[in-house]
Symmetry: C2
Subunit: 356 residues, 2 copies
Amino acid sequence: ATKKDIVVIPGDGVGTEVMDAALAVLDVVQNKYNYDFTYHQALAGGIATDTVGVPLPDETLDKAKKADAILFGAVGGPKWDNHPPHLRPEQALLGLRKALGLFSNLRPIVLFSGLEDSSSLKAEVIQGVDFVVVRELTGGIYFGEKQRQKDNNGYEYASDVLLYHEHEIERIVRLAFQMAQNRKKQLTSVDKANVLESSRLWRAVVDRVKTDYPDVTVEHMLVDNCAMQLVRRPASFDVIVTENMFGDILSDEAAILTGSIGMLPSASLGEGTLGFYEPVHGSAPDIAGLGIANPTAMILSMAMMLRHSFQDEKAASDVEKAVEKVVHMGYRTQDTKVDSDKTLTTMQFAEKVASL
Amino acid sequence: ATKKDIVVIPGDGVGTEVMDAALAVLDVVQNKYNYDFTYHQALAGGIATDTVGVPLPDETLDKAKKADAILFGAVGGPKWDNHPPHLRPEQALLGLRKALGLFSNLRPIVLFSGLEDSSSLKAEVIQGVDFVVVRELTGGIYFGEKQRQKDNNGYEYASDVLLYHEHEIERIVRLAFQMAQNRKKQLTSVDKANVLESSRLWRAVVDRVKTDYPDVTVEHMLVDNCAMQLVRRPASFDVIVTENMFGDILSDEAAILTGSIGMLPSASLGEGTLGFYEPVHGSAPDIAGLGIANPTAMILSMAMMLRHSFQDEKAASDVEKAVEKVVHMGYRTQDTKVDSDKTLTTMQFAEKVASL
Ligand SMILES: CC(C)[C@H](C(=O)O)[C@@H](O)C(=O)O
Ligand SMILES: CC(C)[C@H](C(=O)O)[C@@H](O)C(=O)O
């Protein structure tokens, strides 16, 4: 059996429930595909602040560094909203990304058949939506120098620096080109090159690197225009690559398009095979503890772990197909329910997936 | 008769045509409301680069500074896309904003009855959409220090600084509160306070200033969440206020929601009554010169001039009502046509509006 060390960070809110559900499916994967998983539980987010005083304990970081992969539920909630910045739950995310060198965030956006009705967009607009947003995750304005000061008159000013080095751009852009090669061979690089110097460097790197991927068609798109085109013609995208802040905005906009945000997974990767897998949805404190959260995003994030960290395409796509089948059979959790006969709890949904 | 000096900058592409159309309507306004307009033609954009070597000639800037208002068509086109940054058409826009102190950009987003079908969104989602995006326009990362350099190994890096002073935030936020007071009294302030120091200052200013507008409900929303909520529940917004870069992205996303981007106006204002009025759409080089462009956005921008620079609510809303009526009667330009009998040219459409 192939040994794998998996760090399990349920976090806050519904994080615990969806994690339990995903692990129930993962246990079945373990037997079926002959793995020997060790789960290392770790704390992060509000629960970590409450328990040990910081959102990202050293122990969690140490475990994560040694792991083969990290499964992450969700962090945050009203309880911690008024904490000072360095004690807020999202620091766990930012800290893990930086410390583990997770420079790429992948978010596949697909339309689940049967869920067309939950979208804000017309059926003919979302039909066939199937693209990936590749977001740079450890550079740019998130990690640039920050200042807050008073001027001579006692008024405050504050600043943040958006900085990119060539190599930071190059590695994410190459990853995006490679993904496009395995898909529809169409890359959209998003920037604001008509205003930002960092975007002009970004664009120059894309133009230099593209000669190594002659089979991929690449277009440059301004971020404001991309925010429009995502709504106007989402089905025309294949791979979108962009810097950290633009990626934050565009990937959330993209996630809402199909109406199934509760079902979308994400992967954050670095240079090696270590990966961080997390649902796109948040901790949903309003329904936490009720056992009704939709575990699909967490299960599909776990499938991305099988693909990217364990390079097991077979196991990954089997999990994905099982999820699709369960949805197609009409089974739903509360959030997407159609037919109340087929409304399942978080764990029942996971068990259906595991049984296929 | 009230004298007004209006600088007229048609710019590139369809700019000329839609400007001619809007002036045809303005001529009628002049007679009906007893104005004495002087139109000062000025160059900007690609045509200015071609004619006098720079996108924003000093002469244009001088005229603009002395004017009561500026009507601006559109700038840009493939011909100038590969010019170096300082010679690109959009420098005209950035230069005018900064030189004239136009710190606020207002973009009303409304659904035109009869145009529901052109939206990507379902009718029930866009029903009742009526909000304004108030974007800060002369600060932030657009105008912060820019660098592009080589490190010791010969690799490049580039940076842009996002900087805000308290007073820059305060004046735009107060303007937004005042607008909300005259509307549904609901303000959404958008930032990324969980990551950016400049956003934390922004949020602090909003919280300080809000006590002066007790009748307005204010909520803070993270920019990524706002990018989602615009698609999910656009009808729930009233006034959205945000910094320059976020405003660029969100206002374009907002503009596409109703499906009538060719019809949306904008106003850019400073401390006094001088204002800059411009359609949201661009220069549309593909249809330039054909006389088929939709002049609605330019006409409605002109109406915003009557309201904000000439403080003539009556004339402004009469123009707006006339446009609504023409659309409601089924008249269209090529871009939104339904019934070919009622498809008009740019100038015919303007004449219909002028005749009401
Ligand atoms: C919580 C926050 C810091 C984070 C981000 O902005 O990166 C989140 O929005 C995300 O997209 O993962
Ligand atoms: C042309 C460009 C510089 C400009 C901007 O980004 O401000 C445009 O997108 C706008 O929104 O007016």
